[in-house]
């Protein structure tokens, strides 16, 4: 192996799938051999069976839909507020000086610690789930987007000025497009974190959703269902990652990929 030499596409797929296979292999080995009892860890087959019954008998698809709705809802609100604020902060230094200290402080507040407060404030309905995801995502988005916008190549900004652009034009036609690919990359990252917040929100005070199902299964000591729920989250994450990457390639054909 040589440092930084790219690997051919086919080999990449084989390697990537290989680790998955190995992972499932080890899991199968420790469960089917009886080394780890089913009470702690269901076998892959058992997890699949539990999953099947979840889907067919317990309307798990509905839970999945509810969870996706919550993540996307909270995340879209956070992005819709956070991206413009971040862009303004990165572009206009007085705006940054005004908000940055607070945002830096707020982003270290653990979102899950807000759950009790949020329940007090808005109850255990959808607003609480959306609020938690918002708190968890918004400040991260703001900070990361402002850093991205602030890092816009100065020579491009100056080129725009010499072509007659004013502040507005520079923001709209240089800083915005220059930041867009990295902003999308940031959103992809933060969406991943939003998934952890939604599950936490659903573990406490929810009557539907993947997190609620996992909590229910614990009461029944059904590790198969719990594992199936966790795997479903992973698969959805993988799918959104894939979608985001495809979207970026489509939106930003000019960026070297």
């Amino acid at each position: 192996m040589k440092p930084l030499v790219p690997v051919p596409a086919a080999a990449r797929v084989i390697l990537g799938v290989g680790f998955f296979a190995m992972f499932v292999g080890v899991w199968a080995a420790v469960t089917y051999s009886g080394y780890v009892p089913p009470l702690f860890l269901a076998s892959p087959g058992q997890a699949l069976l539990s999953g099947w019954s979840l889907l067919t008998e317990y309307g798990f698809l509905g839970d999945i839909a509810v969870t996706i709705w919550r993540v996307v809802g909270g995340f879209v609100i956070a992005a819709a507020c956070g991206v413009p604020l971040g862009l303004l902060m990165g572009t206009f230094k007085p705006v940054e000086a005004f908000f940055e200290p607070f945002v830096s402080f707020a982003r270290y507040l653990p979102a899950s610690a807000f759950i009790p407060l949020l329940i007090l404030w808005v109850g255990i309905g959808e607003t609480q789930k959306l609020s938690l995801i918002f708190i968890g995502s918004f400040f991260q988005i703001v900070i990361m987007v402002s850093v991205i916008a602030g890092g816009t190549r100065m020579d491009l900004v100056e080129a725009a000025y010499t072509l007659g652009a004013k502040s507005r034009g520079v923001l709209r036609r240089v800083i915005l497009p220059a930041s867009a690919p990295l902003v999308m990359e940031t959103l992809r990252l933060v969406l991943g974190w939003a998934w952890t917040y939604v599950i936490v929100a659903e573990l406490i005070g929810a009557s539907s959703g993947i997190g609620h199902m996992i909590m229910d299964s614990q009461r029944l000591l059904d590790t198969g269902q719990m594992i199936f729920g966790i795997v479903v989250i992973g698969l959805i994450g993988l799918a959104t990652d894939f979608l985001f990457k495809a979207l970026n390639r489509w939106l930003f054909p000019w960026a070297a990929l």
Partner: protein
């Protein structure tokens, strides 16, 4: 054709020091006048304040003292009347060649049909036909700088500020670019300030070569280049070219040595 006179009067620039480092005097009081349509090369060793001077004329930097005026009107901010091409590649990566060239026109609200016509004209003049819809990253360095030149020219500026625009190109490409620039200047007669540290380039292109001293920069000599236009590459081997080159080398050698020792 440009018809405004550029006056640089007593322009000085001191950069404030950072931390322990004291302030840097980058430019001593500098006076210079560019007649409408004149092609002036600014020649000097690296670090002597050439870019600083050009950036002040562009309005991208403010002089510590002195003033820049265009037909008497003070220059305080960048504007479309002073187009610039930088040494680094500054095409907007998210715009195609044609869109890059139209950037300034769009900013000024020129009607769409006119934008297209102007872009097409400068694409043809800079030899970029067939590359209109390419992204900058798909172009060679020479093509990117041709596109940057077309982008600046499309705005029809009074003055063209070129800061070592061919500095990052290989020798052969550089010579072709010089000929292209000359061809455009001979046709349009725009005022050009062309910064370079290449003596041949300065003589081949300019009507006047302004030699700057090592840092802190000041104008050390102002040498007219009496070679007739239109010029072509064969002039680079003429006796007159040789004489001018010897003179400028004499002027600049000392400064380069000072800059290297500093």
């Amino acid at each position: 054709m440009s018809n405004k006179t550029l006056r640089i009067a007593g322009v000085t620039r001191t950069f404030p020091g950072r931390g322990k480092a004291g302030p840097t005097l980058a430019l001593q009081p500098t006076d210079m006048t560019a007649a409408p349509g004149e092609f002036i090369a600014i020649l000097g060793p690296s670090g002597c304040g050439k870019s600083t001077l050009l950036r002040i004329v562009a309005g991208l930097d403010q002089p510590t003292a002195g003033s820049v005026t265009l037909d008497g009107a003070p220059v305080t901010a960048p504007g479309a009347d002073r187009g610039m091409v930088f040494q680094s590649y500054t095409l907007f990566p998210w715009l195609t060649v044609a869109q890059n060239i139209r950037f300034g026109l769009q900013e000024r609200g020129v009607p769409d049909a006119e934008q297209q016509a102007i872009a097409a004209r400068f694409i043809a003049r800079t030899g970029l036909k067939g590359f209109e819809n390419h992204w900058p990253r798909q172009l060679s360095g020479g093509m990117q700088q041709r596109c940057a030149l077309a982008r600046a020219l499309a705005n029809d500026p009074e003055i063209l500020l070129l800061d070592e625009p061919f500095g990052a190109l290989d020798h052969q490409t550089r010579e072709l670019m010089q000929e292209l620039l000359l061809e455009i200047w001979e046709a349009d007669r725009k005022t050009v300030l062309f910064v370079t540290h290449d003596i041949d380039e300065a003589i081949f292109l300019a009507k006047r070569v302004v030699v700057m001293s090592a840092r802190p920069g000041r104008i050390k000599a102002d040498v007219p280049i009496p070679l007739p236009y239109p010029r072509d590459w064969t002039m680079k081997t003429s006796a007159e070219f040789g004489t001018l080159k010897a003179r400028l080398m004499g002027e600049i050698r000392e400064e380069v040595r000072k800059a290297a020792m500093a």
